[in-house]
């Protein structure tokens, strides 16, 4: 079981330490870890499970903060990693993002949360809704009140009723003036286009996000018009397995507030909404680059925030790039970023320019990969459609809202 959790800032400073068992872990392990990180130039390059001379370390990095946990005995490594991810989720939910300052500013809350989330190295309460009831998140009202009265307790005096109920994810009997439930389909498109311009892989990773504000103990049933296209699925614990197994229907008692009902994958899609065609020709020490972007398959809605990014190779000395639409910038870490925004109707955006190669190098033999980003509101590119959402056990008719959004995930074009 986990023996200790450390939170490290992006400069390697130990911001917080929480010992979990009697086998204390000295914080010098963090120095060891940071040495490794520095030697690798980047903590994301270190494997998430490391055998240090004294401990096994699990580590994840979120927005510059490294969450580090140690153990000395056999335990499922994914349990450690998943738990750290959960801690990171809860913290960023509580603190509205993660960074060094916000953690230091709210270190008491972080301690209280950690203490509640894990006991003796084994996770105790990890359900965000329950945690919210036990430890109040910092918000403006409580802050101001705290300043004025000097009394700022954020620890609840009573045990949330949900810990005893058979739906431990739902706080007991919440009351809402307006009963409403929103279902969002958030999709990410992963695609790989190889050097020959062939679509090697194109798939959608999607999540059904539900935001429910319903009183009492409602029972929801969600069905899709075309569940057969779903290749893989994973569910929130609230989803009952049987109805899905037999009829592909999602039946559940929702937690109160925002949660991820399910995630799914639709594989083997045939086309992408936009095309990106990079071309590199190199000769005699210079390289001509041109990138064309355009709409291939109009999804019917506007394609927003289109970006193209690529890493300038180390062998490139200088770059002179210009575009007929959007802005081109070269960032400090030699990343070239071209943000296009919306693709105009009348012309195809293009980026062109020359790259100067290292002296002595005639032509390029390695080629960068272009990462593409875009956003389409109102469309789920997988084609998944919500058929019905039935709500039982609710006195008044609630408001139901549906939305969809598709973004680029790992969308890569090789050149």
């Amino acid at each position: 079981m986990l023996q200790c959790i450390f939170l490290l800032s992006d400069s390697g400073e130990v911001m917080l330490e929480k010992q979990l068992t009697g086998h204390r872990v000295d914080r010098s392990i963090c120095d060891w870890f940071w040495e490794q990180t520095v030697s690798q130039a980047d903590s994301t390059k270190l494997p998430p499970v490391i055998a240090s001379p004294t401990h096994y370390i699990f580590q994840i990095t979120r927005e510059g903060i490294t969450f580090l946990a140690c153990t000395q005995v056999e335990m499922p490594p994914l349990m450690g990693i998943e738990f750290l991810c959960r801690v990171a989720d809860v913290l960023s939910d509580y603190l509205g993002g993660l960074n060094e300052d916000v953690i230091k500013d709210n270190f008491v809350i972080v301690y209280e949360l950690l203490d509640e989330m894990i006991d003796n190295g084994f996770p105790l309460t990890t359900e965000p809704n329950i945690l919210r009831e036990m430890i109040a998140p910092p918000n403006i009202v409580s802050k101001v009140l705290g300043v004025m009265t000097g009394n700022s307790s954020n620890v609840s005096n009573t045990l949330p009723g949900a810990t005893a109920s058979c739906v431990p994810w739902r706080s007991t009997e919440p009351k809402h003036a307006n009963n409403e439930v929103y279902v969002d389909l958030l999709e990410e498109m992963d695609a790989v286009i190889n050097r020959d311009g062939i679509l090697v892989k194109c798939e959608i990773y999607g999540e059904v996000e539900v935001n429910s504000h319903l009183s009492g103990l409602p029972d929801l049933t969600l069905s899709f018009a075309n569940p057969s296209i779903l290749n893989d699925v994973r569910f929130h614990p609230c989803v009952r397995f049987r109805p899905w197994e037999s009829n592909n229907i999602l039946s559940f008692v929702p937690p109160d507030g925002q949660f991820k009902l399910m995630s799914y994958r639709v594989k083997k899609l045939k086309s992408t909404p936009i095309y990106v065609k990079p071309q590199l020709t190199s000769d005699a020490g210079t390289c001509r680059l041109s990138v064309l972007v355009g709409i291939r398959n109009d999804p019917g809605k506007t394609i927003d925030s289109v970006t193209v990014q690529f890493q300038l190779l180390p062998c490139i000395l200088s770059a002179n790039l210009s575009s007929n639409h959007g802005t081109v910038s070269i960032l400090a870490n030699k990343t070239c970023s071209w943000s296009i925004g919306r693709i105009p109707k009348d012309k195809a955006p293009s980026l062109s320019g020359t790259l100067t190669l290292e002296t002595g190098m005639e032509r390029l033999h390695v080629f960068p990969t272009f990462q593409v980003g875009f956003r389409i509101m109102g469309v789920a590119l997988s084609g998944l459609q919500i058929d019905t959402l039935d709500i039982k056990n609710l006195p008044s008719r609630p408001y139901k809202g549906f939305r969809a959004l598709t973004q680029a995930g790992q969308y890569e074009v090789r050149s």
Partner: protein
């Protein structure tokens, strides 16, 4: 500023400093010591106490030792404010072990709180009380846990379950039965939340007491989907272990298939058990595969260390897995139930649960059903980066053993440039092991892109993967060779201008891949060799040249064209010899000799002159390796070089020793490569050991199939911890008190339990006087002790042991329970017969039955611990000239006394002439 709210001066200053970070605790973290903490702690206002405690917490967070406030903080445990309580508990748990006496002051308060009507207060009190871990209060805590295990609140019962491992950690033997009973009660709880926590308690308190599970098996299976995700992870594993211990493995599963082939083959061979190497000789891909699966299943059950050592050294031990270990999964309800209740968990949103459930199906499910784990596993790859790595490590094993399952999904292993290098490397390895004739063309298409990737290390790995694919699928060998050859030509262009390390690595890797493919069927690829030789002039990288030159020498007799080229090539090599790098020079020498040995007819004279020319050059080389090689070769080849052409014919009959040697060394027919000796280590899917590839402390293979039926009683004994000895591995591992703190770099002892281990008691060793050793023990290793408290105990005579006991702290004494250093002189005679002699020498303190206590070796975190210095002494062992004396000096740098130092020599898996020693010494 806020007079109307009656603000004090303090809140005013607070407000003014916090214009930007209103209401947060930022100022406390930045400047924890800007207020005087002590008086605040004694304040009668909760808010001031809170502030003081927060300041202390900030100091703890920053790594400052503030344990000196302990007495004042403890007083506040009686506070009615829950926030103060919580903060006090946080502080208390951090320092309780450092200040045990003061911590005792809080006990009364906890006991009062345990009777509180608020379940939250009860739960916190129990958590804090169990968390301070004092031996003295263990009985009180036990009573409290017993009470809370029957509490009406689910939350309190859950905390009671979590308190059990804390109590168990104190290692008080007489508590064990009580703890197990509570585990039983909690496992029987009707709330799934409690069951999950109870499963965690079971894993740490009594993982081998599977009879506890037997009572509730069905209920646990039914409750499994409702248990909290974290509990599910552990419960799945417990249920799996139970089913295997009770019913054995499943006939229809993957694990069975392999064992069946083995037993049938062993019948055929007429031997009891054939080693894997024997079986390998009749190799085909399929055999290799089933061999691999067989290994996997053996490793799961026996633990890889034990399995591998048995495999390589002892053939007489019969295999534990015969048909009696198997039962039909279709007719067995327990198995069906396990599979049924774990299969929906493959949809869990917690990747650890999915992997655990997949592990069960992998081991227990009928062959045709195992496929259902494939898609959920692949879907896990889309979760966080960190879990992706762990999942890939596990898929790698599955894919190696059962490539057919993953073969249709090869596209999932295509690589994104944004992934980390480890993930890329894993994916490449998986791709090369699941490539099939149908998918290989798409995979190669991808590989071509990867070779152009800016990450050159990854590109080199891709080249290696191409070689692996070609070896697995001989059909594509030709395409691969063409591609690789084209690459060598291309990379040359690059390598010439930009002589970067990474580029040369790719070139070397390409040549190595070619060489590996050639090895499989040299005659078929004659043209490739010719082309390689032609490109010799353009390839400048020494390592690559060396390999090509080796290829020339190795295959100089093959085909039609190569023998005709040899004269030209050799003259070319001789001409550029002087300008070559060292490794290339060595290969040129070798090749010249090989060619000469195989040569016939008119070329012989040319070859001779070439060889003597390069030998002359080499003799004057700057590098002594080259010079040495030249001298040796000159001696070996003297008869060839000295002879005249006419004498050549009678050369054969009167071979002298150098000649035979030369023939042996350079013309020795290469044995067909047996598939690389399989010594992969497989650990249970989803375990930490599988990721770090060594047995982590506390790792246990699956229980012996069907062991539960016969030895329920035995189980009992194990748990109580009696009968511990070298022969009883289970209890040895699990009841080991300080196994938890064993340092990671120490190998687990699990491998040693059933080897012929010899427990003996040796006499006291005096440094440097080996002959004084007790006569019935082989002095494989000599010890010497530094440190006053570490005076060695003579195992036989009890001299001094009484006085030593007084020196020991009470605490250590209490944990030193129940180990009988076994004196097994009869065993000693075996030692000389067994090649792998693994000696466990207990230099025992005979006084008590002692439990092994293991300390981290030279714990770098605090610098105290056991320091070990070792040196190889030049004197020859009196036992055998083949043994080497190692002098180990143990130094106890910590304040406590140490005992049961375990010394394990792992290196000798190769087993040449080094004896294996595992050595347990009890010393003080």
């Amino acid at each position: 500023m806020f007079p109307q709210f009656g603000a004090t001066a303090e809140t005013l200053s607070k407000a003014s400093t916090l214009v930007f970070r209103i209401g947060t605790d930022a100022h406390l973290y930045d400047d924890p010591e800007d207020a005087n903490i002590a008086p605040l702690l004694d304040s009668k206002f909760d808010s001031e106490k809170c502030e003081a405690l927060k300041r202390l917490l900030a100091l703890i967070a920053q790594g400052v030792d503030v344990s000196n406030f302990f007495p004042q903080v403890v007083k506040n445990v009686a506070s009615q404010s829950l926030e103060v309580k919580k903060l006090v508990y946080l502080y208390l748990l951090h320092y309780a072990e450092k200040r045990p006496n003061e911590a005792l002051l809080s006990i009364n308060c906890f006991q009062k709180d345990l009777g509180d009507p608020n379940p939250l207060v009860r739960a916190w009190a129990l958590r804090a009380m169990a968390g301070i871990r004092l031996l003295v209060i263990a009985p009180i805590v036990l009573v409290a846990v017993e009470k809370c295990a029957r509490d009406p609140s689910v939350y309190v019962r859950k905390c009671a379950a979590n308190a059990l491992p804390k109590l168990h950690d104190l290692r008080i033997e007489e508590n064990t039965p009580a703890l197990e009973e509570i585990v039983g009660i909690l496992l029987n709880d009707h709330s799934p939340g409690v069951v999950g926590a109870a499963a965690a308690a079971f894993t740490s308190v009594c993982p081998n007491n599977l009879s506890l599970i037997g009572r509730n098996y069905r209920r646990l299976c039914e409750a499994l989907p409702d248990v909290e995700e974290w509990g599910q992870i552990l419960l799945i594993e417990i249920l799996l272990r139970f089913v295997i211990a009770k019913h054995g493995l499943v006939q229809e599963s993957i694990m069975f298939q392999s064992c069946c082939t083995e037993s049938s083959q062993s019948e055929k061979d007429g031997s009891d058990v054939n080693s894997a190497f024997e079986e390998d000789n009749g190799d085909t891909g399929c055999d290799f595969m089933s061999e691999l699966v067989n290994m996997v299943s053996r490793c799961y059950i026996e633990g890889p260390d034990e399995y591998l050592s048995r495999l390589s050294y002892i053939n007489e031990v019969s295999s534990g897995l015969d048909r009696s270990c198997f039962m039909s999964g279709r007719s067995n309800d327990d198995v069906k139930m396990l599979l049924q209740c774990t299969s929906p968990l493959l949809w869990s949103h917690n990747s650890a649960v999915v992997l655990a459930a997949a592990g069960v199906h992998w081991i227990m499910a009928p062959r045709e059903d195992v496929k259902r784990i494939v898609k959920p596993l692949l879907f896990l790859l889309r979760s966080s980066h960190a879990s992706k790595y762990v999942v890939l490590c596990n898929i790698q094993v599955f894919a190696k053993a059962m490539p057919f399952f993953f073969a249709p999904h090869f596209e999932d292993f295509f690589i994104c440039s944004s992934e980390s290098y480890q993930i890329k490397a894993l994916k490449l390895e998986i791709l090369s092991s699941i490539a099939m004739d149908s998918s290989i063309s798409s995979i190669f298409q991808e590989f071509q892109d990867y070779i152009r990737d800016p990450d050159r290390r990854f590109a080199a790995d891709t080249v290696a993967a191409i070689g692996l694919c070609a070896q697995r699928l001989p059909k594509v060998a030709n395409i691969c060779l063409e591609g690789l050859l084209a690459l060598t030509r291309e990379e040359y262009l690059i390598g010439d201008f930009v002589c970067m390390d990474e580029e040369t690595n790719i070139l070397i890797q390409a040549i190595m891949s070619i060489e590996a493919i050639l090895k499989q069927d040299p005659p078929a690829h004659e043209k490739v060799i010719v082309q390689l030789v032609r490109s010799l002039d353009s390839i400048k990288v020494p390592a690559a040249r060396a390999i090509i030159i080796w290829i020339i020498g190795e295959y100089n007799t093959i085909g039609e064209i190569i023998p005709r080229m040899l004269t030209t090539v050799l003259t070319y090599l001789a001409r550029c010899f002087a300008s070559e790098a060292q490794e290339t020079k060595l290969q040129i020498l070798n090749t010249a000799v090989k060619v000469l040995l195989c040569a016939k007819g008119k070329d012989l004279w040319t070859f001779k002159s070439v060889l003597s020319y390069v030998l002359e050059l080499a003799k004057c080389d700057l590098n002594y390796d080259v010079r040495d090689r030249a001298h040796i070769l000159k001696e070996l080849m003297s008869c060839y070089l000295g002879q005249d052409l006419e004498e050549e014919t009678d050369c054969l009959p009167r071979k002298d020793i150098p000649q035979i040697l030369a023939e042996c060394i350079f013309r020795g027919q290469r044995k067909p490569m047996s598939p690389e000796p399989i010594n992969f280590r497989f650990y249970l899917p989803g375990s930490l050991s599988q990721i770090v590839l060594h047995a982590a402390p506390g790792y246990e293979p699956l229980p012996k199939p069907c062991s539960l039926l016969s030895n329920d009683l035995h189980q009992r004994l194990n748990v109580v911890g009696s009968g511990e000895g070298a022969t009883n591995s289970d209890s040895y591992e699990t009841d080991d008190p300080d196994r938890l703190s064993q340092s990671a770099n120490e190998e687990s002892t699990s491998g040693y339990s059933s080897q012929n281990s010899i427990s003996g008691s040796s006499g006291s060793d005096v440094p440097g006087s080996e002959s004084e050793d007790d006569d019935n023990v082989d002095p494989l290793i000599r010890f010497s002790d530094v440190g006053i408290s570490n005076k060695k105990q003579n195992g036989v005579s009890r001299s001094g042991s009484d006085s030593m006991e007084e020196l020991m702290s009470k605490q250590t004494l209490e944990s030193w329970l129940d180990e009988q250093p076994s004196l097994s002189d009869p065993n000693l005679s075996k030692q000389s017969q067994v090649r792998r002699s693994s000696a466990r020498i207990s230099i025992g303190d005979i006084g008590g039955r002692v439990k092994p206590k293991i300390y981290g070796l030279l714990d770098p975190t605090n610098g105290n611990g056991l320091r070990v210095n070792y040196s190889f002494s030049s004197e020859i062992s009196s036992m055998s000239p083949q043994l080497v004396c190692v002098e180990l000096i143990f130094e106890n740098c910590s304040a406590e006394s140490m005992s049961k130092v375990l010394l394990v020599d792992e290196e000798s898996n190769k087993g040449l002439d080094s004896a294996d020693q595992s050595l347990v010494a009890t010393e003080r």
